[in-house]
Amino acid sequence: MILHIKNMLSSRCKTIVQKELQSLGFDSHCEELGTVFVSNTVNTQNWNILKLRLGSAGLELMDDKKTSISNQIKGFIKEILGTQEDYSDASISSNLGEKMHMEYPNLAKAFSERNKQTLKQYIITERVKMVKEMILGHKDNLSDISSKLHYSSTAHLCNEFKRVTGFTPKIFRNNL
């Protein structure tokens, strides 16, 4: 695992970083200023301890930009799908781009580098999950669901649903 550390200026910084890692029980190797190779993965608890200790020495353990982007994306998608307002005019991707202040292609690239799925696949699975829940809730009919979850039409919803689950929404509902 590679750690990125800000404000490393001299070879003493390397020594101090390696000492801190050693005291937490990690073997580390630091060739260039700013990057440290650690033999094992650092879990969240150790990460926070390390961040605090390095902070007191004026160094900053940098969060991986792509991981934090993909976590943010996941949060926003849940938020967008969860609010269930009538957004039928705007697609999820353009909504996401606006909220993150980044272009969608850049977001998608960062997302698939840190996850096993692409962003599109992730959106589809999350969305179909929501469709299932809403069908089970028996409150909305399909056209309401499709507009609340940013589908362009009911046909779009049915197609996507069938592709992911193998059933049409109607069969899914009747087989409950």
Binding site: K6, N7, L9, S10, S11, R12, C13, T15, I16, E31, E32, L33, G34, A57, G58, L59, M62, K65
Partner: protein
């Protein structure tokens, strides 16, 4: 007693000095970049022992006036280039140095070049390039922002200077698998 130390460039160097000094039972009153104030008075042999001890971490005890002054110039340059905030000086470097040290710039420049084999101006540029490298690798600012932050007149000026010292364009450097940064004390 004040002890002048070579090669201290950052806060971590201060920490290393403090722990080394405490390790050999010296009591530090105050430590700044380049100097440490201790309670004890040391004679020549003790100073030599101290020198040996701190050389393990790459420091040296300085004892002649000229090298102390050269070290001060270096530290001022480092302070200017590597400050976390925006570029702190409004005048040019030469005026800044001679005002800070209360000495004529011509004298400082000659002293520095004869001692180091490199002019103050070139030393300053090398540090600037190193700072650019650092900022590039953080990926927080793009090249235009870096140029503005470091008070370059244009991106072209920055790229040219970068290429002159590293042989690479900033974008090429950013894409390298193992980009090399030089520790500040080795510049």
């Amino acid at each position: 007693m004040k002890i002048y130390i070579k090669n201290m460039v950052c806060h971590r160097c201060k920490m290393t000095i403090i722990s080394t000094f405490t390790g050999i039972n010296l009591h530090i009153q105050k430590v700044l970049l380049g100097e440490a104030d201790i309670l004890e008075e040391l004679n020549q042999t003790q100073l030599a022992e101290l020198d040996n001890e701190i050389r393990k971490s790459g420091f040296e005890v300085l004892n002649n006036k000229k090298s102390i002054l050269v070290e001060k110039i270096k530290l001022l340059v480092i302070q200017v280039v590597h400050s976390v905030d925006e570029h702190p000086i409004t005048t040019n470097l030469s005026t800044f140095l001679s005002e800070e040290l209360q000495l004529d710039y011509t004298y400082l420049a000659t002293l520095f070049s004869t001692d180091q084999g490199i002019t103050i101006e070139k030393f300053y540029l090398k540090h600037r390039v190193e700072r650019i490298k650092e900022l590039l690798l953080y990926q927080e600012l793009n090249i235009t922002e870096i140029a503005r932050f470091l008070h370059y007149s244009s991106v072209a000026h920055l790229s040219n200077q970068f290429k002159l010292y590293t042989g690479l364009k900033p974008s090429q450097f950013k894409k390298m698998a193992h980009p090399h940064r030089i520790p500040l004390e080795d510049i």
